[in-house]
């Protein structure tokens, strides 16, 4: 009996954590007229909820907006973050240390606290409902983590590598592009995932800065879809389910990258 206790507890934990998804799946697969309990799986095939959610919420457009904004933001976060990290990691002068601590202290600044003035500023710039404004904002608020992780990683690369190249006549820029950059692959993978996830799922910024339907991302579209069809939760469930698919696929295929960056932060502090 005691031998079975641990596996049984493990299975129980797994099942409990899956309950919310089980309920959502049931809901999405049932006809809206079906008033049976949400715990009961349907014994018929019904996919109209997905069709309706897809067309009513214009999820195709929302998903392509997500792709545009996420791809742009992630690219800039990686490029600007790795560029910034190099001098900060290699030349820790008093001023550079100040810049470094200033950058990472912004990890603690919650973006929401400055949303009122930021919103006003973007309105003045004419950036509401534009891809560039939302992307720049996402980049700005993702950069501290990127600078933090790239700087930490570059510090672990032996300085002798730089010095040898310098003696061979490499310029410091060439050292960065030819020697450091190729070594940054693992941390870049982690950052692409962490930043991509944050931008893809973002609701707060998108709600403020994307007010026209044609530029809205999936979470904003879903929130409007929900308030419009609050009485038809089956459609909402189907919409949620469709929206979860891209990230779920990424997670299942690239699981180790999701976890490794986090794990490093936890061990090194």
């Amino acid at each position: 009996m005691r031998k079975l206790a641990a596996p049984a507890a493990g299975i129980a934990i797994g099942l409990v954590h899956l309950i919310p998804f089980f309920i959502m799946l049931n809901l999405a697969l049932k006809a809206p007229t079906d008033i049976s309990s949400k715990w009961v799986t349907p014994h018929y095939v019904y996919l109209d909820n997905f069709v309706n959610a897809w067309s009513q919420a214009h999820l195709d457009r929302a998903l392509s907006n997500n792709i545009i904004i996420t791809a742009t933001s992630v690219t800039f976060v990686i490029v600007l973050g790795s560029l910034a990290a190099y001098p900060l990691a290699r030349y820790p002068t008093r001023w550079n240390n100040f810049v470094y601590y200033l950058s990472i202290s912004m990890l603690i600044v919650p973006a929401l606290t400055i949303l009122v003035p930021l919103y006003k500023f973007i309105v003045d710039l004419g950036g509401i409902n534009t891809y560039w404004a939302i992307s720049l904002i996402q980049v700005t608020f993702s950069l501290p983590l990127s600078i933090f992780m790239f700087t930490g990683f570059i510090k672990t690369i032996p300085r002798e590598l730089d010095e040898a190249a310098l003696i061979d006549g490499c310029s410091r820029y060439a050292i960065f592009f030819n020697i450091i950059l190729p070594l940054l692959k693992p941390v870049t993978a982690t950052l692409i995932i962490l930043t991509g996830l944050a931008v893809w799922n973002d609701f707060q910024f998108s709600l403020f800065f994307l007010q026209r339907r044609t530029v809205q991302t999936v979470p904003v579209i879903l929130s409007q879809f929900f308030s419009q069809f609050q009485n038809n939760v089956a459609w909402v469930a189907a919409g949620c389910l469709i929206s979860m698919i891209p990230m779920t696929c990424v997670y299942l295929f690239l699981q180790k990258y999701f976890v490794s960056g986090l794990a490093e932060g936890a061990v090194k502090g």
Partner: protein, 302 residues
């Protein structure tokens, strides 16, 4: 470093000097200045006005917006809620995350599958997570009330009671992000050298005393990391509330984040919203940094 000693300035050399390399962080710094520092200063300005968020007219009201915070019961409720969301989910996430990590630490296939399941909600938009739980807590036809009815109990309006809604949403946030704490603790556990545990076992430590005096102290970096991340995340809870209650019933489940949104867009009270933003900034900075400092002191060197 060889400067331009010969006649004429060698631009290539200047460009290659370490000081000029600092140009590489100028783009990042510019973004911080434009989209963070400048708005922060503007936020201070707006918090001393009665600006409505749209018109170009406003007047200076001094400290009035800050005084309002402490006389408005709605705002006091919101501040308390924000602490429940922030500190409550931090507490739950870390206790559960640590327990799960201790239980699921190991290479077996079953454990790895359960870890994947527990971590899975982290990747889902918190807004969607809010809707999913809404399907469970709904009054009419909610999955939990289905159980109540099945057991011949009165169905309960789960989200219709302010304090209860606050705790339920704290649990939803815990459910979603406890995977982060779990992974942090798993990494911490795996970083503990086997010899330490073996040496302690030889000295007679086992069970709770082994955990209390050996494992936990060595786990402190993971505790620090996880606690600070959770506190910051919990204090700014927004999506789940927007999905499940919109701050209701009657302002009873707002957090500072959702309250600010409501003040700005629904009530055109932008000056007050800016003042609340500044308060939140202060609260998160003070709590985040002091937790970090306190926990750092408890860390031990190997």
């Amino acid at each position: 470093m060889g400067g331009p000693t010969k006649k004429g300035i060698n631009t290539r050399k200047i460009l290659a000097s370490p000081a000029m390399l600092n140009l590489m962080y100028v783009p990042a710094l510019t973004l911080f200045v434009v989209f963070i520092f400048y708005p922060i200063t503007q936020g201070f300005k707006w918090s001393f006005t009665n600006w409505n968020g749209y018109s170009s007219k406003y007047s200076w009201v001094g400290w009035e917006q800050y005084v309002r915070m402490f006389s408005d019961p709605k705002t006091l409720r919101t501040i308390i809620n924000t602490f429940v969301y922030g500190l409550g989910s931090t507490l739950f996430q870390n206790i559960l995350g640590l327990a799960y990590a201790l239980f699921l630490n190991g290479a077996s296939r079953g454990k790895s599958i359960v870890r994947t399941i527990v971590y899975f909600p982290v990747i889902i938009s918190p807004l969607i997570m809010g809707y999913i739980w809404y399907f469970l807590f709904q009054y009419d036809g909610g999955a939990i009330n289905d159980i109540f009815i099945f057991l011949r109990q009165e169905p309960l309006d789960w989200l219709g009671n302010g304090p209860r809604a606050v705790w339920l949403m704290t649990l939803v946030n815990t459910y979603q992000f406890m995977g982060v704490a779990m992974i942090a603790y798993l990494a911490g556990l795996q970083a503990i050298p086997k010899e330490c545990l073996e040496a302690a076992a030889i000295d007679g430590a086992a069970g709770i005393s082994l955990f209390r005096y050996v494992t936990l102290p060595l786990l402190m970096p993971a505790v620090t990391f996880s606690m600070v991340i959770n506190i910051i995340g919990g204090l700014k809870l927004f999506d789940v509330i927007m999905a499940m209650t919109l701050g209701g019933p009657a302002y009873a489940s707002h957090s500072l984040s959702t309250m600010m949104y409501d003040l700005y867009f629904a009530r055109q009270d932008a000056g007050y919203a800016a003042a609340l933003g500044n308060l939140m900034f202060l609260v998160i900075a003070v709590i985040g940094i002091s937790t970090l400092i306190y926990l750092r002191r408890k860390e031990v060197e190997l």
